[in-house]
Each structure stands twice: as structure tokens, then as C-alpha cells.
């Protein structure tokens, strides 16, 4: 892909991610972490990792999380979003590199969602100074199977339909 095209695609994906992140604030979060998110916006990372590679995905994830929480939410939700986005994207890059031909994007997405929630729970533990919050992680892991699997399916459908033109 040419450089200009790459930049435009990254900008577009950042915009899509921000919209998804804002839409996510209207979805109910099962437990009360202030600013905690389910992580649907990771679908953007799942689209970029196979098309552009790991580094652009990380850049888009950080941009998406920081701009999204500047528009909607405050400092605390920014800490949650950015840490969740960075850790989830890193795990997805690693999972894609080592598992991808064997597993589809659904598996990569599930691992990313688990990483996203693990990062959020860790941040909550540090912010609230309470280790008991880790007891929420198992429930969040079961939810991540669905959200991550959904993200993976969406990314897969996108790449199968429009992705060939990229």
C-alpha cells in the first residue's frame, strides 16, 4: 500500500475507532469500574494488524483511545482506555504473528479482549488501591469471549469483503 493511502486508511480507522468507543459508553458495563469499557473498539486493531502491520495498529489504538476519551469522558477514563488499548493491541499483534494461520481473527480478538479487560482491572487495582477488584476478572473474561469473538467476526467479514482492495 502506498504511503498516502496508508495514512488515509489509518486516519479513517482512527475515526471509526473513536465512534465505536463513544458508542461503547452507551453500552452497559457489567461492573462498576469508572470509565471501564467492553472493548468493541479493538475491532479497528484487528483490521489494521493484518493489513498494515503491528506498528500502525499501535499508533491508531493510542490515538483512538486518547482522542476518544478527550471527547467523551475524563482523565480517569483516559487512563483506562489508553492502557486497555495498548495492552490489547500488543497481545493481538503477538497472537496474530504466532497463531494467525492456525487460528482465525476470532481467536486473536478473544485474546485481545481478555488483555483489554486484564489491563483495565490492573489499572483499577492501582487507582483504587484494592486488590479485591481482581475478583471481577473471571466474569470479564467470560464476557470477553463474546465481545472479542464479535470483534474478530466483524474484522474477518470486513477483510473478506472489502479488504482485498486495500
Amino acid at each position: 500500500m502506498k504511503n498516502t493511502k496508508k495514512l488515509i486508511f489509518m486516519a479513517l480507522m482512527t475515526a471509526v475507532g473513536i465512534v465505536l468507543q463513544i458508542a461503547e459508553t452507551f453500552m452497559p458495563f457489567p461492573i462498576d469500574l469508572p470509565g471501564g469499557k467492553i472493548g468493541i473498539a479493538n475491532v479497528v486493531g484487528l483490521i489494521i494488524i493484518p493489513t498494515l502491520g503491528g506498528m500502525p495498529a499501535l499508533v491508531v489504538a493510542v490515538l483512538r483511545a486518547s482522542i476518544g476519551s478527550m471527547l467523551f469522558g475524563g482523565v480517569i477514563s483516559a487512563i483506562y482506555s489508553i492502557s486497555g488499548a495498548i495492552f490489547a493491541t500488543l497481545i493481538m499483534i503477538i497472537a496474530y504473528r504466532y497463531l494467525h494461520p492456525k487460528s482465525s481473527l476470532v481467536g486473536v480478538g478473544v485474546l485481545g479482549a481478555v488483555a483489554h479487560n486484564a489491563a483495565q482491572v490492573t489499572v483499577a487495582t492501582v487507582l483504587l488501591g484494592n486488590v479485591g477488584i481482581f475478583s471481577y476478572l473471571p466474569i470479564l473474561m467470560i464476557i470477553s469471549i463474546f465481545t472479542g469473538g464479535f470483534s474478530g467476526l466483524v474484522a474477518q467479514m470486513f477483510l473478506n469483503s472489502g479488504g482485498k482492495k486495500l
Binding site: 493484518p50 481473527l105 478473544v110 488501591g129 484494592n130 473474561m141
Partner: protein, 131 residues
Amino acid sequence: MVRRVNNLTKTDFVIILSVFFVAIASIILLNTVVYAGKVDGVIIEVDGKLYAKYNFSSITSQKMVEINTKYGYNVLDIQASGKVRVTEASCPDQLDVLMGYISKPNQMLVCLPNRFVVRLIGKPEIDIVSY
């Protein structure tokens, strides 16, 4: 450019199932080890120091406790059945109020701006010393 993405593979199911089993195992572990036993009392701490302690055996009906310190104001609702919740808080996020009731040993309610921690204590059903 784009590698062909296939349908769900065997590795996907391995990933999903292992995540699921780790989650279930941790839930079972939490319930049998950390939250095991019956609730015995409630401890209120402010700024890391013991503020008050109540035993459920000595509470006959609902009890409202006001905690007014220089860090802030909280109202704690203690039920004789062993449930505890925060009904009022002076902090902006109201997180401890939103948490609702807690009823198992080692569960906590935290109001960080007010440096306020409520913890349930319990006596384990199996005495570890006699094991």
C-alpha cells in the same frame, strides 16, 4: 497484501475454551477459598486506621452508621442478615454507593476520595489450625 482469513479453526476453539476454563476455575477458586465461610462482622477503616467494628450477632435490626471524618462523609447501612452497603457518600463518583450490597467475607467497599474502606470479616467454616 491481506492473507486469506478462514472460518473458525480448531485453534480458535482451543483459545476460547481455555479462556473459559481459566475463568470458571478462578470463579470456583474465589468462592471456595477467598469468599468461603460465614460473615461475622464488618470493619470500617478510615485512612488505613480502624474506625469502627461491628459484629452481626450483636445487631438485631437494620443499623445506619454515619462516618464523618475530615476526609468526607459516608453513611453505611448494616443489615442484621449480614449485608452491608453504602447509602450516601460525599465523593463525586458515588462508586461505593453504586456497588450495592456486599455479603461475603473479604468483600470490600471502597471510597477512595474519602479514604474510606468497609470490609466484611468472617470465620471460616473449617478451622485451618485444626487441620
